[in-house]
Subunit: 248 residues, 2 copies
Amino acid sequence: MYSSANVSERQAQAPSLAISTVIFALRTDPGTGRSEIWLPLVRRIRQPHLGKWALPGGPLGGRESLQDAAARNLRETTKLEPTYLEQLYAFGGLDRSATQRLVSIVYWALVRPEQADLARESENVRWFRASDAAGLAFDHDEIVAYALERLRGKIEYGSVAYHFLGARFTLAQLRGVYEAVLGRHLDPANFRRQLRSARDIAATDEVLQGGRNRPPRLYTYTGPDQEAPSPGPAPRLPAEGQSAGPPS
Amino acid sequence: MYSSANVSERQAQAPSLAISTVIFALRTDPGTGRSEIWLPLVRRIRQPHLGKWALPGGPLGGRESLQDAAARNLRETTKLEPTYLEQLYAFGGLDRSATQRLVSIVYWALVRPEQADLARESENVRWFRASDAAGLAFDHDEIVAYALERLRGKIEYGSVAYHFLGARFTLAQLRGVYEAVLGRHLDPANFRRQLRSARDIAATDEVLQGGRNRPPRLYTYTGPDQEAPSPGPAPRLPAEGQSAGPPS
DNA sequence: CCAAAAGTGTTTGGATTACACCCATGG
DNA sequence: CCATGGGTGTAATCCAAACACTTTTGG
């Protein structure tokens, strides 16, 4: 048994551990019709950084895995059910929080548009365009930037793009996902071919009616739910500098 | 202030946090002359898994970043100075340790051959061929496998290969690194060209004397010490299953 | 001179790019 | 019938693999 002083000394030394999640969804700009990346943030209701926007997160329970903790917390704070969830990075710089030593294991998630529309905003949850998410609490600006970088990397090799969309989608919608994430225009003809070979999608016999032009065919994703084993190059090093905090 | 019961309850709930490192070095097989991947392991001197071999690791100090903790611990347990150090993954499955809830933030490191030779084995530190590292404590088998996967991925895009070698090296030595990591033969002619374009190496005006054949030119690495910013595809998902531990 | 690795040149096939062209629909 | 995006075809280009060939050393 420890004395009370001994215990509080140990607690001061032992960094506290939290799980946070960067959640991405796509929204279509009503004006241009282009897809854009959005993410939900929660308002800080206590110090430090009271009132600022921050990533949803919370402590790690004793009876749940890291991924379970991320999923649970994400559900509790934003009411969202992700279709994709993956660990991003563990942030543990000394200067992350002014009031305590804090280690955050951060996940990133994708949710479908229905979810994003359904989860309406409340006083303490608001959606932001990814490009507008600045001035966040703690080091969350940099965490979001790193998550976007990972998303870009992963969409080129892996099959995460489908997790932004529903069960049936047109190739134009899928291309919209790629264009939003990569930030550049893609040739429709070549895009089609690149997917037909190697990517796991299948054409249905349905088409999407109601548009102004020729009705596009609908496709479905046939791959595994949470990503197949797949080597492929590694992510950019999120250097903690020599002894500092988050990715640069 | 908490009561003693309250405190121990909290400690039971709060998972403890440790930092471990997978250290890779290259050794040349005296027989075949081929390079092979080796790693140092430490013997467990307490329960659980007493006597088994495990990754070097220890608790996270309150006044050091995650990366500093990894570097310090690596130095203390194996006397090695890494030339490369990067975070691998945070492992936090429920069944990782029988005696306590344990979250490990794992790093991976590369050291030069001199270091690996210098750091002679002791009673509680021994080097193993990567392919022979099985039956380790905890989930360290899987962690080593995942680190190897990351190494493979990173060597193809990034410039980590140089961190296995000294300041001056021949292209044959460098090719040996790639062949050891990727596990397949590479065409010397094509290998040369791939490096000359884009990779950051420069030829010196020296050659390596003493071989049986034509003396090869020596090259130096001109890139940044700890890796340049570089997007590139993302790593394989180390799925924790739906709620379980380490990568599958 | 021979073996073997260092180093250069050339050919080839596959993948990516750019873009011309036809198809189907709403207005 | 025209504008627009859906969808197909094709030539130009780039890149990586395969391999022939020359160079330079030790024995």
